[in-house]
Amino acid sequence: MNKTVWIVLIILGLLAPFIVYPIFMMKLLCFALFACAFNLLLGYTGLLSFGHAAFFGGASYITGHLVKVSGLTPELGVLGGTLFAALLGYVVGSLAIRRQGIYFAMVTLALAQIVYFVALKAPFTGGEDGLQGIPRGNLFGLIDLNQTFTVGTSPLPLNLYYFVFIMFCLGFWMIHRAINSPFGQVLKAIRENEPRAVSLGYNVDRFKLMAFVISAALSGMAGSLKSLVFQLASLTDVSWHSSGEVVLMTLLGGVGTVLGPLAGAFTVVTLQSELSSVGSWITVIIGVTFVVCVLLFRRGFVGELGRLLKKSL
């Protein structure tokens, strides 16, 4: 994609905390990273996982625990959460890739429900309350992530924001690199025609598993960051609603496009926050939006835009 588009997006990201409420912006970035990681699997490998909340939410618990109880610095907490998600992804992936289509989705869902149950019952997760008051700590022991800078009238947590933003860019870049690598080419081949990929001599199970682990790890990174931003790891993030939400975000924005999950995550999170005053009707509104979007733009916002511009976005 065009270099200028990237530069504009990075500048927007750098300026965002001065324009939008920073915590909200960080939430957007966390969910956008989550959706992008999910899209690597759905959009580029053709695997629909319905258990990605296990990686997102599971990692947030691990990070919360490492930072709050073990007293590690936040970057190590995020690293720990990410590694945990990768490991969990390896286990779930190894079992799930033995099946295809809807059965694959069901296996991931079932295993994610086990993770949910552990989060509910295990002693270190805080059960219904979750892990609260997770300290943000000092990055590398040096930079205080709680520090705010007053610009105009409002204090802005710029240290935290830029940490999250850099991690987001890193994760996004990794996904982008994986998609546009020799490995990504084989993934696309598997998505397009799996038997043919086999007959060309590719061990498709290994490729699928690797894609699954990368996707799980980066979903975990998103969850870890979220637990630092909100200082909370809760059951919401590990429940199947979150797994469904990330599917929704990816489809809305455009599956198999680079910017689609970003647009989808921004849309869903913004709707949720803007409409939070209307109460439980919010699910109806988001549901209707989803149905209308799917009927009108089958490729998602970005997918349709890409088709109009005849470019892959």
Binding site: M174, R177, A178, N180, S181, P182, F183, G184, Q185, V186, K188, A189, E192, N193, P195, R196, A197, V198, S199, L200, G201, Y202, N203, V204, R206, F207, M210, I214
Partner: protein, 250 residues
């Protein structure tokens, strides 16, 4: 030393009591174009699937170059140099023909698991990919979307992709199926051209194509071998005529 590149022994496949392939003994001579023909449902495609391990045989063995490959996985068989095509065109429709061929070429670079590298390193394969596309007459379509190509061109692309792996044994599943007359002639010529220095086993319905190409023919009927031999011989066999045309040949 036998000069048989592929040999099957009592190859059998049961689907829950229905015997799709029954005790098939195939011997494919190196360098031949060997055709597998037979009426619909005779088990030709099943034999293909067994040979490439897309299906597991119920009984029997498969030897390739004298090695028993009966227990291997499809990807391993491909690595040995047995590459198949499919009955319906097997291309990657949303990629370009260049990318299709490169996917076959990139395996030997050994970077297919390298998710941290840019796909720019695949550009070193472009020359080779273009050569292959040229050889099947697709050079000018190299950067279009494959899904939008005409059917005959997709089949040609499939052959180019298969050739990219430089297979010792090519298995072609009905390469001319669903094609217009012109395309059939083109593909026939193409198969002839690529058969130099390699062995081809093909399933084919079009007897004219078989007559032109095949050195040897095996006729299958209801999962078993009816007869085998060169075209001139097989085409005169009364059983074959009956299998193909009923008893109308009286």
């Amino acid at each position: 030393m036998s000069d048989h590149i592929l040999e099957t022994n009592d190859l059998t496949k049961d689907f829950k009591g229905f015997t799709a392939v029954s005790a098939v003994n195939l011997k494919i001579e190196r360098g031949h174009i060997h055709a597998l023909i037979g009426p619909n449902g005779a088990g030709k495609t099943t034999v293909f699937n067994l040979l490439t391990k897309f299906l597991t045989p119920t009984k029997g063995t498969i030897h390739f170059n004298g090695t028993d490959i009966t227990g291997e996985k499809p990807a391993d068989i491909a690595l040995r140099g047995v590459i198949r095509s499919f009955q319906i065109s097997a291309v990657f429709p949303n990629l370009t023909p260049r990318e299709n061929v490169r996917l076959a070429l990139q395996r030997k670079l050994g970077v297919s698991y390298h998710f941290w590298k840019s796909d720019k390193i695949l550009q070193q394969l472009d020359g080779q990919a273009m050569e292959l596309l040229e050889s099947v007459g697709l050079a000018e379509y190299a950067d279009q979307i494959t899904g939008e190509l005409a059917y005959g061109r997709k089949r040609a692309l499939e052959i180019a992709t298969t050739l990219a792996l430089d297979p010792e044994l090519m298995l072609l599943d009905e390469p001319t199926q669903g094609m217009g007359v012109e395309d059939v002639d083109k593909i026939t010529a193409l198969v002839k051209k690529v058969s130099a220095n390699r062995t081809i086993l093909m399933v084919e319905h079009n007897l004219k194509v078989v007559a032109t190409l095949a050195d040897r023919i095996t006729v299958l009927q209801r999962g078993a071998i009816l007869t085998e031999g060169p075209y001139a011989e097989v085409s005169q066999n009364p059983q074959v005529l009956e299998a193909y045309m009923g008893s109308a040949h009286d």
